[in-house]
């Protein structure tokens, strides 16, 4: 694990349960969104609950911005930690209406209102729901209230445990823009537990990959996703995320050009204004390599690159090839046979053909 300069959250836990052991030693950045990512049962929710004080590990140390929350002598109970917590199910208090739920924590919080009640209501777009009872809300609305309730206490860190997992795709699409707003507008760190590579690609700045109660990878999102030795099976979701900016809109063909450090890609125009910063996700399965100029092709995005390194893929017939394009890295999934026939080796100049690009605001 490389030392992290602005690491302000130090978490070291060991927790032994029958059939499960959590053993982590982490330094997390004190800004931006950190995704705790892993398959179910990997311990990511347990880690989050340890940070919140909802689980009490047998031994551990937790320091947040220089303050000790837990060590051999200290134990700060959950209600004294300056956190906001969003549960997987919104878990609103059934005996209170929406405003009552929002005010519950607010009335008890002595901390400065870094995100006031009104700002929380505005951020999550729930001002029309305030008088309603939780059982009259849709799942998506309930979760928005749950997020606003956690923000209204003025937390110094926001912990979110798979806030979208209990929702169907439509509700997810409804909430994701609000989460993206949180990412852009909050200046507190956000820990986001997820098993969805798509959510992580959209929201995270930093990623902690967990497997069987241990941290198996940890680092900035782009760098970490581009690693060939990521010891977790992502299947079809292997790919990289690039920071980019919308350059030109081609209104005749309904395409948008996004520029990243290393080149430009054309993608479907999603109505994002030129000059806006976006993320693009390029999956390894959508990237193919050619050693000679492929000539006329239906693929619009062809970039010049150079093979940087080669790694194993989950299937013995497949390889992952890491390609340097300008200062960016892309991953390409190839069959071993085609790699052998093309003579793919580190340093080889290649044409990188990208079949599809997902644009994320």
């Amino acid at each position: 694990m490389q030392p992290n300069q602005d690491a302000r959250i130090e978490a070291r836990f060991r927790l032994d349960w029958p059939g499960f052991t959590l053993d982590v030693d982490l330094k997390l950045p004190s800004r931006g969104v950190t995704a705790l990512f892993g398959h179910s049962g990997s311990g990511k929710t347990t880690l989050l609950r340890c940070i919140a004080g909802l689980e009490r590990p047998s031994c551990g140390r937790l320091a947040f911005k220089g303050k000790i929350w837990q060590d051999e002598k200290t134990w700060l109970p959950t209600y004294q930690r300056p956190i906001g917590y969003v549960f997987q199910e919104a878990s609103l208090f059934a005996h209170l209406n929406v405003l009552g739920n929002l005010r519950f924590g607010l009335q008890r919080s002595a901390t400065a209102q870094r995100v006031g009640l009104e700002q929380a209501i505005e951020l999550l777009g729930i001002d029309h729901l305030l008088a309603r009872k939780p059982d009259t809300l849709s799942g998506g609305e309930r979760q928005r209230v749950g997020i606003a309730r956690a923000l209204a206490v003025g937390p110094e860190i926001l912990l979110m445990d798979e806030p979208l997992a209990a929702l169907d795709l439509k509700r997810k699409q409804e909430i994701l823009p609000y989460l993206e707003r949180l990412h852009d507008e909050l200046d507190i760190p956000l820990l986001y537990v997820s098993h969805s590579p798509d959510e992580v690609a959209r929201l995270a700045d930093h990623i902690v990959v967990m497997d069987e109660g241990r941290v198996v990878a940890d680092g900035p999102l782009g760098e970490t996703l581009a690693r060939l030795d990521l010891p977790i099976r992502l299947g079809e979701d292997v790919g990289v995320v690039l920071d980019a900016m919308v350059g030109v809109i081609d209104s005749e063909w309904h395409l948008a050009r996004v520029d990243f450090a290393g080149g430009s890609l054309w993608t479907r125009d999603r109505g994002v204004a030129p000059g806006k910063r976006v993320r693009v996700r390029v999956l390894a399965r959508d990237v193919s390599l050619a050693v000679t100029d492929p000539g006329a092709s239906s693929i619009q995005n062809i970039l010049d690159g150079r093979v940087e390194s080669i790694g194993d893929d989950e299937h013995p017939g497949l390889l992952l090839v890491r390609v340097q394009v300008g200062s960016s890295l892309l991953l390409a999934r190839l069959t071993r046979r085609s790699a052998a026939q093309l003579g793919i080796a580190p340093g080889l100049p290649v044409s990188v053909q990208i079949k599809s690009v997902a644009l994320m605001e």
Binding site: L54, T78, Y79, F87, S91, F104, R108, A110, D135, T136
Partner: protein, 166 residues
């Protein structure tokens, strides 16, 4: 059986009787407060059961949520647990009241059927029947019947509505 042993315990030589005497309260049998104490024992399970169910059905989650919203455990008990258990308290209260009104053996044993002090409705019906006053017995029985019907109706109306969604 319960009435008999309660009578022994609360009598002048029983442990409870000795305690109440030493506190200067006299003995409890054949007094109104003796009836109250005996009825509390007799109906306790009808109070405990619904309350236990109500507390159990709340689960861990609301307590955890309250803790993340800065509520101390005591605060959580009063501001979250009690309000959420309210239907349980109402059910328990109605059940216990109805059960106590209908009891017979224990009140007769402890109360002793003293007119104006420890004579209760259920014992009164018994007295009417003993005295062959069937019309009075019928009348009182009808009152009791409609009372229990009203209680059951109240419980049915107040029963918690099934929660929608999650």
């Amino acid at each position: 059986m319960l009435g008999f042993y309660l009578l022994l315990a609360m009598g002048p030589h029983g442990p409870v009787g000795q305690l109440t005497q030493s506190l200067g309260l006299g003995t409890l049998p054949f007094t109104f407060w003796g009836l109250v104490v005996a009825s509390v024992f007799y109906s306790l399970p009808f109070m405990v059961q619904p309350l236990q169910n109500a507390f159990e059905s709340i689960g861990e989650r609301p307590l955890e949520v309250a803790a993340t919203l800065r509520a101390s455990p005591l605060d959580t008990f009063f501001s979250v647990v009690l309000p959420l258990a309210k239907p349980g308290f109402i059910t328990a209260g109605i059940l216990t009241f109805a059960h106590t009104v209908g009891e017979f053996g224990v009140v007769l044993m402890i109360g002793g059927n003293i007119p104006g002090i420890t004579r209760v409705a259920s014992v009164q019906i018994y007295d009417h029947v003993e005295a062959m006053e069937y019309a009075d017995a019928h009348r009182l029985a009808a009152v009791m019947l409609s009372f229990s019907f009203l209680v059951l109706l109240a419980m049915y109306v107040r029963r918690p509505k099934p929660a929608k969604g999650n």
